[in-house]
Chain length 201, copies 2
C-alpha cells in the first residue's frame, strides 16, 4: 500500500477547496450539486467526501479559509492591505459567501461549525485592534472594540458592493477609514496640489 | 356600487405591505407562502394580488419603501438620523432584505423592477452628498461620489451586523463616520475629561 504523505493530503484538500469555490461562485450554494462539485474538482464524490463531511462542511471551510487569510494579511501587512485584498476576490464568490452565510444563520448545525472554526481566527483580529490602540496607532477616545466594528462593517459593506458589481475607489475608502480611526496627529491634512511656480520660487 | 376613495386604497395597500413585511421577517422570503401572507395581512389572496402583481412585486415594494424612507430621513434630518433609524429596524426583516436582494441579483425581472423603482430614490441620496460638499459640510479632497459610497458601505455593513444580531455602539460609529467625511475644521478633537480640580482653578 503506497504511503500517503501529509503533503499529498494537504494538496488534495486544497484542490477540492479551490474547485468547490469555483462551483459555488458559478452556480450558487444550492446550484453547486455534487455532480458539479465533481466536475469542478475533477474528483469523485467518494474522494471529495473523504476529506469533507458534506457540502455544508465544504462551504464552512471556504468561508473560514477566507477569514483566516484576511487575518494573516492584517497581522503581517496591516489594515490597508487587508482591504486591498478584498478587491482582488472573485465578486461571484463574495456574493455567494454573503448570501449563504446570511441564509444559514438560523441553521444550528452551520452556526455551531462556523463558530467553532471562527474561534480560531477572530481573536487574532480583535487583538490587532487592541494592540494598535495600545501602541498609539489608533485614536483612544473610542474603544478598540468599536474601532474594530467600524472597520469590519466598512469591509463587509464594501464586500456587498463588490458582490453587486458596483465600483468604488479603494484608495479613497482607505483614506477616509484612516481619518476615522487614526489619532488626530496622524490624520491626513487636506493636501491641495501646489502651483508649480510657487514651488520653484 | 360604493365609491372607493384613494385614501381607502392607500390604507389597504399599507396594511398589505405591513403584513407582508412581518411574514417575510418571520418566515423568510421563500417561507412566506401565499397562505402565510393571507394570515399576516388578514386578507384574501384575491385582495392582496389586486394591489400587487405577485410576491416578488410585494418584496420589491417593501425594499424600495425602506430606501425611500431612508432618503426622506437623510434629506429632512441628516446622515446621523438616517443611521440611527437603521438601528430601530427589525433585525429579522433586515436579514431577509439583505439575503433576498443578494440572491435575486441574477433574476432579470427582479433587477428590472428594482432599478425602475430605485431610479426615483437614489438620485436624491446622491444629490445630498453633492450639495453637502458644495456647502462645505464635507471634505473636498475626496469626490462626493466616493464619500457617498463610503457612508453607504458603512450603513450596509452595519445592517449586516444588525441582521446577525451583533451589537455595536451607534454613537461611536457616527463619531468615526463624521471624522472620516467632515472637512478638517469640523473633525472632533480627542476630548479627554478634564480633571475637576483643574477646571475649578
Amino acid at each position: 500500500m503506497p504511503k500517503v504523505t501529509q503533503e499529498h493530503l494537504d494538496a488534495r484538500r486544497k484542490e477540492i477547496l479551490d474547485g468547490a469555490r469555483r462551483a459555488f461562485a458559478e452556480h450558487g450554494y444550492e446550484g453547486a450539486t455534487v455532480a458539479r462539485l465533481e466536475e469542478a474538482t475533477g474528483l469523485s464524490r467518494g474522494a471529495i467526501f473523504h476529506y469533507f463531511d458534506n457540502k455544508n462542511d465544504l462551504f464552512v471551510e471556504l468561508a473560514m479559509e477566507m477569514n483566516t487569510r484576511f487575518g494573516d494579511i492584517l497581522l503581517e501587512r496591516g489594515l490597508d492591505e487587508a482591504f486591498r485584498a478584498l478587491t482582488a476576490e472573485n465578486p461571484e464568490w463574495i456574493a455567494v459567501l454573503i448570501e449563504t452565510e446570511s441564509r444559514m444563520r438560523h441553521d444550528e448545525d452551520f452556526v455551531r461549525r462556523f463558530e467553532a472554526k471562527a474561534a480560531d481566527a477572530s481573536p487574532r483580529i480583535r487583538d490587532w485592534f487592541h494592540d494598535q490602540q495600545a501602541a498609539g496607532n489608533l485614536r483612544d477616545d473610542v474603544s478598540w472594540e468599536e474601532l474594530g466594528r467600524f472597520a469590519t462593517a466598512l469591509l463587509n459593506g464594501l464586500a456587498l458592493r463588490i458582490a453587486g458589481g458596483d465600483p468604488f475607489d479603494i484608495e479613497a475608502m482607505l483614506r477616509l477609514l484612516g481619518d476615522a480611526i487614526a489619532p488626530p496627529r496622524k490624520r491626513q491634512a487636506v493636501r491641495r496640489p501646489q502651483p508649480v511656480a510657487k514651488q520653484r520660487k
